[in-house]
């Protein structure tokens, strides 16, 4: 029963969503779907709380046991506590005939300022570092070693230059327009993205979609039970 019941719930809810997609006007199926969607949103909210609890417990454990790098866990817990303290409290104020909720995450609040002035620059910095690694990796690895690599290199440079106004300015300056029948470099970059790249991307998307359909059917029919922590039956 411990296995059959979840399988039954999965099959019933999955089939309801599937049937509703093709017969949206059937009230019973549509109503059941609405209930499942609501349950889904509620379950996901509790999953978030579970995630936070898990984060707290695992980090507290490391701090109490003074495992290696426990200072970092301590910093995480302190940051969490401070942000939580300033972001969660809320109160109501009357504006006109309505009450408005003023939250710790609203613009101008301390929680908002912590987010915008601490988390945002840190997060942007981490993401910006990618540009430096791209520059270094491009210098070391992007070499025209054979015909395929040369084609890739050529199209990459055209797309990179065509994506920025400076590329178009350089293009005009050196009178390169005649190469591409008076089209500018943006047009060339767009053509590469629109035609060859879009075609290959579409092929990949179709392949992925077929894979998803097959995987979904295996899960719905109970053939794949890996989400139970077991392999295919």
């Amino acid at each position: 029963m411990r296995r059959q019941l979840p399988l039954l719930v999965l099959f019933f809810s999955g089939m309801t969503m599937l049937v509703d997609y093709f017969f949206p006007e059937t009230p019973l199926i549509h109503g059941t779907r609405e209930v499942f969607l609501n349950w889904g949103r509620i379950a996901l909210t509790f999953a978030m709380i579970l995630g936070v609890m898990n984060l707290l417990i695992s980090n507290l454990k490391k701090v109490f046991l003074q495992q290696s790098g426990w200072m970092y866990n301590m910093i995480l817990l302190l940051s969490f506590g401070i942000t939580f303290w300033y972001s969660v409290p809320f109160h109501f104020v009357k504006s006109g005939e309505y009450f408005s909720m003023i939250k710790g995450t609203d613009a101008g609040s301390t929680g908002f300022n912590i987010f915008m002035n601490v988390y945002t620059p840190l997060s942007s910095t981490m993401f910006s570092l990618v540009a430096f690694f791209i520059a270094s990796a491009a210098f070391r690895a992007f070499r025209a070693k054979n015909i395929e690599a040369t084609l890739l290199l050529g199209s990459a440079i055209l797309v990179m230059l065509g994506s920025i106004p400076l590329g178009n300015s350089l293009y005009d300056r050196f009178h390169l327009a005649t190469w591409f029948g008076s089209h500018n470099l943006s047009w060339v970059a767009n053509f590469i993205q629109d035609v060859p790249m879009s075609a290959s991307q579409r092929a990949i998307n179709l392949g992925v979609a077929v894979g998803i359909i097959s995987m979904s059917m295996k899960i719905l029919l109970g053939i794949d039970r890996s989400y139970f922590g077991e392999g295919e039956s």
Binding site: S100, T120, S124, F132, S136, A144, S186
Partner: protein, 276 residues
């Protein structure tokens, strides 16, 4: 000598890149912008909005890509207000809430737009990595997903939301996306099933993934990265950070291209030396 140059210390590359970006930021130069067709398509779609048309703006990104997406988000929000459209703001990302608050503080409030009348902030709802339970829910009953606004007003008491039940009452959805859930999920659930027109605003890295949807008409327009944001600012004639940061972006990109070319020239000469 050639081999030493070919194996250049990466710290030197980092330093050169820092210098080029700093130069671009400190001494910006105006650049002639050509508007890409996908950005023009997005602009044209929003331009066709009539006063009172309901538009959903979904801020599905976090601070890591804020410098890249926020200029486009602000310009598009401004354009929607210029068209007197009724703007419904929401997010599928918890990190999207402050992005939304910043957009309201930077555009809606200075333009004198009134909350719950000209725009409404529905806040954040977690729908999992696919966002399906939220997007599908919006398709059938928006109130069931957002019973209250982010400010706590009940759905039924918000003037802007009077008569708005589901996607059928929405004219356009614009998703500012940095990952999942985002524009891909809106295409799958909102466009495929409810035929809701969608404009995508994505990072430059993820833009190639969206081109097939643009060609098939599932996306009505595509604004990609800081360059797309700058082009949009140019279209609405309201310069912002997009246009200001464009020269720095250009210098950085040209530097990377020069590194690639230099590496290949060095490899060519190193190969010739070896064959001799």
């Amino acid at each position: 000598m050639i081999e030493r140059l070919a194996n250049l210390d990466r710290r030197f590359i980092f330093l050169l890149l820092v210098l080029c970006i700093s130069y671009g930021l400190l001494f910006p130069k105006p650049l002639k912008i050509s508007i890409d067709p996908p950005v023009k398509a997005a602009y044209d779609t929003i331009s066709q909005l009539q006063p009172g048309d309901k538009v959903i703006l979904s801020f599905d990104y976090g601070p890591s890509v804020m410098p890249e997406l926020q200029p486009a988000a602000l310009a598009i929000l401004r354009h929607c207000f210029m068209k007197k459209a009724d703007v419904i703001l929401m997010t599928l990302w918890n990190e999207g809430l402050p992005m939304m608050s910043d957009a309201i503080a930077s555009v809606a409030i200075p333009m004198g737009e009134k909350v719950n009348q000209d725009y409404v902030d529905l806040g954040f709802k977690w729908g999992g990595v696919t966002g399906s339970s939220v997007i599908e829910g919006l398709g059938s009953d928006i109130k069931s997903v957002f019973p209250n606004t982010n400010g706590g007003s009940p759905y039924d008491r918000v003037p802007l939301l009077k008569g708005v039940k589901n996607f059928k009452d929405i004219k356009l959805l614009i998703s500012f996306t940095a990952g999942n859930p985002g524009v891909d999920e809106y295409i799958q659930y909102a466009n495929a099933r409810y035929h809701l027109p969608i404009v995508g605003v994505v990072t430059k890295v993820t833009a190639p993934k969206e081109f097939p949807f643009l060609n098939s008409g599932q996306l009505s327009g595509l604004v990609a990265g800081l360059v797309g944001g700058a082009e949009y600012e140019e279209l609405i004639d309201h310069p912002g950070f997009g246009l200001a940061g464009l020269f720095a972006l250009s210098t950085a990109q040209v530097t990377i291209i020069l590194f690639i070319l230099a590496a290949n020239v060095l490899q060519f000469f190193a190969g010739r030396k070896k064959s001799k």
